[in-house]
């Protein structure tokens, strides 16, 4: 019996848009499959259908989806029992682990299968040990780091021994160390089959190995299915043009300008009288933290016309630093010279940033003129009357960035500006931030995406052991030892490229 058997699966929304069109797919027990495709290609829709959820309220779902012998289509997730034999780890860590205590959350799925208590205890212990989380089983789940939360979520998905594990960008918010933790668990799995949606292919490959089988989706159809090398050679260039994340080595062989296309950029406000190279933001002996200091002796500067990046592991204080520089948190020690005035802040979670209902209203929130609003909306390529909350994650991210960039504050602080963007979105962000710097403003950003940092930043700081180090030219810092010491090894493909450039 196969773990998953999909025949002629078609999904249409209530508005008549086709999300999936005639998808056929088989996954054997224990097989691991990587699902790739540009944003909007139907990856998340497919995972939702297989998980037994309604992918399109009011829409239609036809065809057949059989998980370990159970038909999913037409099933009522709230009435038909036992629960589907799937484990699901969604993107939002707060949904992955949602009960107050880690152990209770991991036991939840087993309890719902009405297993006897001793069997539950054994399964929970095994799952927690598998993800190396047994130590903190009694922790309050709200206090976990992003990496710990995803591992606990993985344990919760694995504990009921599902036939099929669905992973929807499980490492999107994680630093490379935490990514290795999740990756190690997944590749060591023997029993459940795995369907993985993942953008960070280089780091995943460096950490261990990617699933050998790749299924490529575009426009709701399967356009290629087979061993990775064959899929990349068949549809690699097409996927790259559609904006999909691909391994670095593969993308490097494709012409850049062709990939960028002619996507228009959002307008950048003018910072007023600022001479190029003038200091806009500088700190002396700064200590930041919410209750106690997480970063001390911070000496960071941003000058007009440059993009500066801060890299570091999860929980190292990067976001706290940005919020302090923005004036949202009090400095615990030292001083901040805001020569460029109060900075604007782009939050790490785009959805937290929306203050209006529609795209047009959101863009106009800061009182921007009609021309600016029009230009920004056009650059985003969005319907001005669309609800901001119904946009895809990538669209929300670009909107939240564009609305801040169109303003006039001289310093822009951006927390993980490429999170949940596809590769086309990342390249768009690179060009947009460079344009802002060219307009005489300064940008300070944090990112886990070192490829993005290499493309966008003039200088890089590295957080290590509560200190901010480096600050030199991007290529030098990324090629140096500092990054490795901070637990952020550059993907092998990037290292090779940097050495090539230096030689």
């Amino acid at each position: 019996m196969s773990a998953l058997r999909i025949r002629d699966l078609t999904v249409r929304t209530a508005q008549g848009r086709t999300l999936l069109a005639g998808v056929d797919l088989d996954v054997d027990p224990g097989e691991q499959v990587l699902l790739v495709g540009p944003s909007g290609s139907g990856k998340s829709t497919l995972l939702r259908v297989v998980a037994g959820l309604d992918p399109a309220p009011g829409g239609t779902v036809t065809g057949s989806v059989v998980v370990a012998g159970q038909e999913v289509i037409g099933r009522d997730p709230e009435l038909d029992h036992p629960p589907l034999d799937v484990g699901w780890l969604p993107q939002d860590p707060a949904a992955g682990v949602c009960l107050p205590v880690v152990l209770d959350d991991v036991a939840f799925g087993c309890e719902n299968r009405a297993w006897p208590v001793p069997r539950i205890e054994a399964a929970v212990a095994a799952a927690l040990r598998a993800v190396d989380a047994w130590e903190w089983r009694d922790r309050d789940s709200g206090t976990l780091s992003a990496g710990q939360a995803q591992r606990a979520g993985l344990a919760a998905a694995l504990a009921p021994r599902p036939a099929l594990l669905l992973l929807d960008e499980p490492t999107a918010l994680l630093d490379p160390g935490a990514l290795r933790g999740v990756q190690a668990v997944v590749s060591a799995l023997q029993s459940p089959a795995v369907m993985l949606v993942e953008h960070r292919l280089d780091e995943w490959a460096d950490a261990g190995e990617l699933p050998r089988r790749v299924v490529a989706l575009e426009g709701g159809r399967v356009i290629a299915d087979g061993p990775a090398t064959r899929v990349w050679s068949q549809v690699g260039p097409a996927l790259a043009r559609a904006g999909c994340h691909l391994p670095w080595s593969l993308e490097a062989t494709l012409p850049g300008p062709e990939l960028d296309g002619a996507a228009p950029l959002p307008p950048s406000g003018s910072p007023g009288r600022v001479s190029p190279g003038a200091s806009l933001l500088a700190t002396t002996g700064l200590a930041v933290g919410r209750e106690s200091a997480v970063l001390t002796d911070v000496e960071v500067s941003v000058r007009a016309g440059e993009v500066v990046a801060v890299v570091g592991s999860n929980g190292s204080g990067k976001s706290t630093l940005l919020h302090t520089l923005a004036g949202e948190l009090r400095a615990l020690a030292g001083s901040i010279d805001r020569a460029g005035g109060r900075p604007a802040l782009v939050l790490g979670d785009a959805e937290q940033q929306f203050l209006a209902a529609t795209v047009a209203a959101e863009v106009a929130f800061d009182g921007a003129g009609a021309e600016v609003v029009e230009a920004t909306v056009a650059a985003l390529g969005l319907d001005p009357e669309a609800s901001v909350h119904r946009l895809s994650g990538g669209e929300q991210r670009r909107l939240s960035l564009a609305t801040v960039l169109q303003g006039e504050r001289a310093v822009v602080l951006a927390d993980e500006p490429t999170h949940s963007l596809d590769r086309a979105g990342v390249r768009w962000t690179v060009r947009a931030l460079r344009a802002v710097a060219d307009a005489g403003r300064g940008v300070l950003l944090t990112s886990h995406d070192l490829r993005f940092v290499l493309e966008v930043a003039d200088r890089v700081y590295v957080v290590r052991d509560g200190r901010l180090l480096g600050g030199g030219a991007t290529a030098e810092v990324l090629a140096g030892e500092l990054l490795v010491l901070a637990g952020l090894p550059l993907p092998a493909a990037a290292r090779a490229r940097l050495r090539g450039a230096a030689a």
Binding site: L53, A94, P116, R342, Q353, F354
Partner: protein, 246 residues
């Protein structure tokens, strides 16, 4: 408190709140409050500092109640405040109502802080007509509540990031900005609630039969504590009044 069923202290609080609703005698309320402070300090080991802080929170409200009542009831006039008469009945009723605020509010906050949400929900699912779907929804909501102050700050930060600056270079958010942040809090919460509901569905929350791994039985300790607290309260409330006489 860890040895009690979490429903016991909560039930006692409800009984206390209901009983006090019929008491307007200041002396009885003082006695009752004294007893409750003793229970909290000795039974729950609540420190003096925490007790003092909790009292302080409710003092402004209690004073407001006292003032309004003092000037708004008919009775023998004690003093005149402009057009308003302070009456003896007003002062007596106002004092009693102000005391009542402390009697009901202080223990509720102190006990609330010490109640473990998981144990409480497990107990409610076991002994009250709370079904698993509702119980677990409440537990996930408890985590959302813990995150809420931070989400609120983020929304305000987003507003301040784009609001016009005043002459000193500080952002002006205005009432409208706060209203938008409140709306953002609501919409973001609904979205997150939807995602959590999906996660709970996939994990089989609707199962007609499920194993209740955790249990919260009532024990003899619950009966003992309830009896001591209630008897003590009655004695403390009635004792001094009888001693002082009518």
């Amino acid at each position: 408190m860890s040895r009690l069923n979490p429903l016991t202290p909560l039930g006692l609080l409800l009984v206390l709140g209901a009983a006090v609703s019929f008491v307007l005698d200041g002396v009885a309320l003082v006695g009752l409050h004294g007893w409750l402070v003793v229970v909290l300090a000795c039974g729950l080991r609540v420190g003096v500092a925490e007790l003092a802080r909790t009292h302080l929170v409710f003092v402004p409200f209690a004073l407001g109640v006292l003032m309004t009542n003092a000037v708004s009831r008919s009775g023998a006039v004690l003093a005149e405040l402009g057009p308003l008469d302070v009456t003896d009945v007003g002062v007596r009723v106002g004092l009693a109502l102000a005391l009542r605020v402390l009697v009901v509010a202080v223990p509720a906050v102190v006990v609330g802080r010490r109640t473990d949400p998981t144990r409480l929900v497990v107990a409610a699912m076991q002994h009250l007509p709370l079904r698993p779907r509702g119980g677990f929804a409440v537990l996930t909501a408890h985590r959302m509540l813990a995150d809420m102050p931070q989400r609120w700050q983020l929304l305000l930060a987003a507003g301040r990031s784009r609001a016009p600056l005043d002459r000193r270079g500080a952002p002006r958010l205005g009432v409208c900005g706060y209203a938008r942040a409140a709306m953002g809090l609501l919409v973001g919460g609904i979205r997150r609630g939807n995602r959590i509901a999906d996660a709970l569905d996939v994990r089989g929350i609707g199962a007609p039969a499920r194993t209740a791994r955790l249990q919260e039985p009532f024990s003899r300790a619950d009966a003992l504590v309830a009896a001591v607290v209630v008897l003590g309260a009655v004695t403390a409330a009635v004792g001094p009044s009888t001693a002082v006489g009518p």
